[in-house]
Symmetry: C2
Subunit: 356 residues, 2 copies
Amino acid sequence: MTDIAKLGEFGLIHHLTDDLKVKNASTKYGVGDDCAVMHYPNTEVLVTTDMLMEGVHFDLTYIDLEHLGYKSAMVNISDIFAMNGTPRQMIVSIALSKRFAVEDMEQFYSGLRMACDKWNVDIVGGDTTSSYTGLAISITCIGECSEEQIVYRNGAKDTDLICVSGDLGAAYMGLQLLEREKSVYYQQVDEARKKNDKQALEALSNFQPDFAGKEYLLQRQLKPEARGDVLKQLRDLNIRPTSMMDISDGLSSELMHICEQSKCGCRIYEKNIPIDYQTAVMAEEMNMNVTTCALNGGEDYELLFTVPIGDHDKIERLEDVKLIGHITKSEFGKILVTRDNAEFELKAQGWNPLKD
Amino acid sequence: MTDIAKLGEFGLIHHLTDDLKVKNASTKYGVGDDCAVMHYPNTEVLVTTDMLMEGVHFDLTYIDLEHLGYKSAMVNISDIFAMNGTPRQMIVSIALSKRFAVEDMEQFYSGLRMACDKWNVDIVGGDTTSSYTGLAISITCIGECSEEQIVYRNGAKDTDLICVSGDLGAAYMGLQLLEREKSVYYQQVDEARKKNDKQALEALSNFQPDFAGKEYLLQRQLKPEARGDVLKQLRDLNIRPTSMMDISDGLSSELMHICEQSKCGCRIYEKNIPIDYQTAVMAEEMNMNVTTCALNGGEDYELLFTVPIGDHDKIERLEDVKLIGHITKSEFGKILVTRDNAEFELKAQGWNPLKD
């Protein structure tokens, strides 16, 4: 492994970004000056940012740096899609502690670049510095959208249909699975240590977590995909959402944002919430309510959007989009109708990084 | 003090950003959606970012959160000025550990807003999350500049004059001063503890560091100012720099960037490097070479720029800009001429966060 101190800050940046090729006409100047320079004469500029802290947002015992790079990039790209925009540039800041080597950063950048290549995004700058403790990542993504095409959270209207792409809760169940296997491993290590069983300890260095039949959950947690493909389908069918956001903190929390900003209520149906078979099996295994996982799980990075009721038939034609309910007047509240027709007020119990 | 968990992420953001007024026509939508939205039809968009980690970039034993907010904003604004641009928007990400309260964040935002108000910058978004360890700050600043007005690092030409604004080395000496007083304090605490001298320990809770006559050094370290005023003077005199950057890692390191990117050499004169009286006194007190401090100190946030030799008389008229040398052909190297006419090759010994 190569010590980062050998390269220094500028050497490391050079090493990681030297062969970047510019893909977008809006990118005028990338890495290497005080600022990156962009040109957006005919469209609105969209900017979003996300900060990821080791121990809070990721655990390097079960996500490798390549996946982490991919995921860090993808969640920002997802925010641009959530406005109906096209991602164009990315700025990447990392603070590293001494335990990371040049090869680790190569892995991280390899993941970053894979995600950026997938959506044609240019890496145009950033900051690389040191940290006394863990790894801290801050990514800013820049995109564009014509003024008429931007979709905010505040445009949902009474009778609009509520749609989600893909399925929900799988990323959360993937996290539960990873946490479970991690604790199984540490339990076995603890036991072997107590008995001073060196043979068992050695065997544990080859510990294989049990992920059989649960690959989809892992993939959703470790390699989320931003749903630019869904935007394209909507455009092709000439559907313009009235409100939209991506589901990062859980369906329930995001739907409440849309209702609050659009000053409306909503009525969604438990039976319509899209859930993958593996998610349901895993929830059963862990004695969890699968609907609660889908409502509050987070990290799905699917799109939640509303469309005028007139688009009903077009939406039905989309394979990977499900109608889960409709917008109501504000005074009817935010309601979940269960399978047995009971009604509950929705609560935002999504992931809140600043709660106890 | 108010526990941040009481407000939660969205409550805290709301509390801190609720009364922000939009100051720039280019700001179309700020805090509250997946992205901020901007409009730049006639100019280039400049984007820069900086990450600041507790323990590496700042020490909360001697910088309070209001100054930290001010400085974090100002160093990013400085990067926009370094391209000859006008700062317009700012995006602020913070990761907090549990020891911070709502009031701490109010302090931080108060400093941020003071810096942004000074240069008419809109705070348009960001991310607020938690950290297991210290405070991490990542700021992105967005600005604009017409294509013809942008100044890169790569335009310096043989015979161009090398100029710096303000004076150098004071921020570094301010840091030395703060470090010294901190270690004096801890020495006295240690001694009092060893002797179990409770009276002395109580007296130390009112410890007053000795900053008399050194206020300027502290101000330079704790409350740096981005030099937008110098840009205005240059414009008023119709001077367009051929290359420019801000001095954050030390004059020597920055000048080498300009020479490398412009494929040229330089010749600067020790006697012309602007140094404040307090900087010189403090260097003497600490047995340090003041020129070394000015060359390698960092955190000055002054502007380093080159102008065509024909602008010599105009530059001489500027009060707060000094000519320190001139650009040469690459083969003549990067030379410092000392007061006794000795010549040394410049070395970048500036602050490198990734060095041992």
